[in-house]
Amino acid sequence: MSATSATTVSARGATNGAPSGGTGAAMRRTGEWARRAPLLPALVLTVIVTQLPFVVTIVTSFISWNAYYPDRRHFAGLENFQTVVSDPDARRAILVSVTLTLAVVLVSLLLGLVSALLLDRKFLGRSIVRTLMITPFLVVPVAAALLWKHALYNPEYGLFDGLLRMVFGSGAPQVDWIGQYPFLSVMFAIVWQWTPFMMLILLAGLQSRPLDVVEAARIDGASSWQIFRHMTLPHLRSYIELAGLLGTIYVVQNFDHVFTITSGGLGTANLPYYIYQTFYTAHDYGLASAAGVIVVVLTIAVATVALRTVFSLFKEENR
């Protein structure tokens, strides 16, 4: 990830390569194979299981193929893509995927940063608070989604409306959380689960910060805010990028929460759910594949944009 490790490792490569450099070409070749051999099992398996299916998906996306009508299978060109793009459900799914991913990643990054900063200081019971904080990340996503849907959001006996009634009495407003705010309901359940992940990465970043420099700045009269803006944030940059990137990769693929909380209803179906439905319920293989290709393109685009944004933000910071 960082430039320093790249140089260390390539330097190491040079030192390791030096002894074999003087010998014959044949020797060098066997040496290279000996080096590649440990890599091969992992590489070959990854190519077969991840790349091959994706190639099949790309091919299928150009075929009109519904499992209910196997004899009508034919090459369709870009027809599937046209259908996906003109299908209002698919268009909404694309929009939901993008907004849900960006909203979840940004909110959980921010909350993760705040809690990481709080946990970086010494205070009584710090390790207990850290344990409390990481718990949401360790709850199985389906279980977490069930918890939010039934035990918290439920309008009849959910905790949230129950607390409202405890505080404001029997006349308290009783909100149908999922019915009235389906997008936010799904979003907050995912934010709850992913904030600890962001916090863990950022906390590790904070703890790898050289403290003596910070101490020196403090003695020179730098305020806490100045230290945060000019020392802590730039140091955290690569950690924030990475947390955002990994978060994006996982959140854009979210299926569990959408499936459990709304079953894709109320306009919350994202692309993975749309594909699941097109493939599993409608059995339209061609359409599902075209949507799959779109998700891949979208993931790469969103991840790149997210990275760029964070990057440029910090470039201004460094000036």
Binding site: M1, I134, F279
Partner: protein, 285 residues
């Protein structure tokens, strides 16, 4: 913050700062408790009777009951739990066996264009798994591997392999070159070098990578739902079917959610230092 500041700063300022620090500690506790509260509510509800679990306003101090757990275990959760354990543990072991040599080749004896290879591994994580769902389903159907737990083992292995390679590579890159060279000069063979120099550095890394792979395979739902049915159903799939088919029993749902999450919770709590270290090492280095 440190003794130096305390001694140079006037006493008044010092006291002020420590007050500020104390209140920030309280804020940290508050944030931690807010995040923990939904989980606590799940635990509490799972130990209430169905009648007490579904009340409004909520009854925090209702008498404890094992009704939810009794009903959950009566629903036959053992086969799905065993399936999940098989898929997660076997795939995690396979991941480590495959990822360790690869990470070794990429860090200590870097192959040419090692950055490209590493980037390739990472890029497979950019492929949303849902894009490979159909071909894998069709393949499983053709060769008769649908509803077979070993297909999930294979899939989870490959799903987690890139993360493990990435994490282990950064741990292995921590081994000082000088130590490796010194061992070489002393005539230590590969196995001795591995055992004496590399193993101590990399053991926490392996633990961290294994923990993360275990969590992700245990939690996986989409593929398990599509590729399994009655025989090889995993715990998350069981959880989803469990609610829709039997109506809603809040205490039972909470008990089920807690039991299914328990292996990950125990592993995560026990090894939280490794989790932090693993995420950060795999992350930025």
């Amino acid at each position: 913050m440190s003794a130096t500041t305390a001694s140079t700063a006037p006493a008044l300022r010092h006291r002020k700062r420590s007050w500020g620090e104390r209140s920030l500690g309280l804020v940290a506790w508050l944030v931690g408790l807010i995040f923990f509260f939904p989980f606590l509510w799940m635990v509490l509800t799972s130990f209430h009777s169905e009648a007490d679990a579904a009340t409004n306003p909520p009854s925090f101090f209702a008498p404890l009951s094992l009704e939810g757990y009794r009903d959950f275990f009566a629903a036959g959760p053992l086969p799905p739990l065993i399936n999940s354990a098989t898929a997660s543990i076997v795939s995690t072991l396979l991941v480590i066996v495959l990822a360790f040599p690869a990470a070794y080749a990429l860090s200590i004896r870097p192959v040419r264009k090692w950055t490209d290879v590493l980037f390739f591994f990472l890029s497979t994580k950019f492929l949303p798994v849902v894009a490979g769902l159909l071909p894998i389903y069709l393949f499983a159907q053709q060769v008769g591997l649908l509803d077979n737990i070993w297909l999930l083992v294979l899939f989870y292995t490959v799903m987690n392999l890139p993360i493990a390679v990435w994490m282990l590579r950064s741990f292995l890159a921590e081994v000082p070159v000088e130590m490796l060279e010194a061992a070489q000069v002393d005539g230590a063979g590969l196995l001795t070098t591995m055992r004496k120099i590399i193993a101590p550095v990399v053991t926490p890394g392996i633990a961290a990578a294994a923990l993360i792979c275990f969590i992700f395979s245990w939690n996986e739902l989409l593929f398990a739902r599509v590729l399994t049915a009655t025989v090889s159903e995993t715990a998350p799939v069981f959880l989803t079917g469990f609610v829709t088919s039997q109506g809603l029993f809040l205490a039972k749902v909470c008990a089920a959610s807690l039991v299914v999450s328990l292996p990950v919770l125990i592993a995560g709590f026990a090894a939280q230092d490794k989790l932090v270290q693993g995420l950060s090492m795999g992350a930025v280095r």
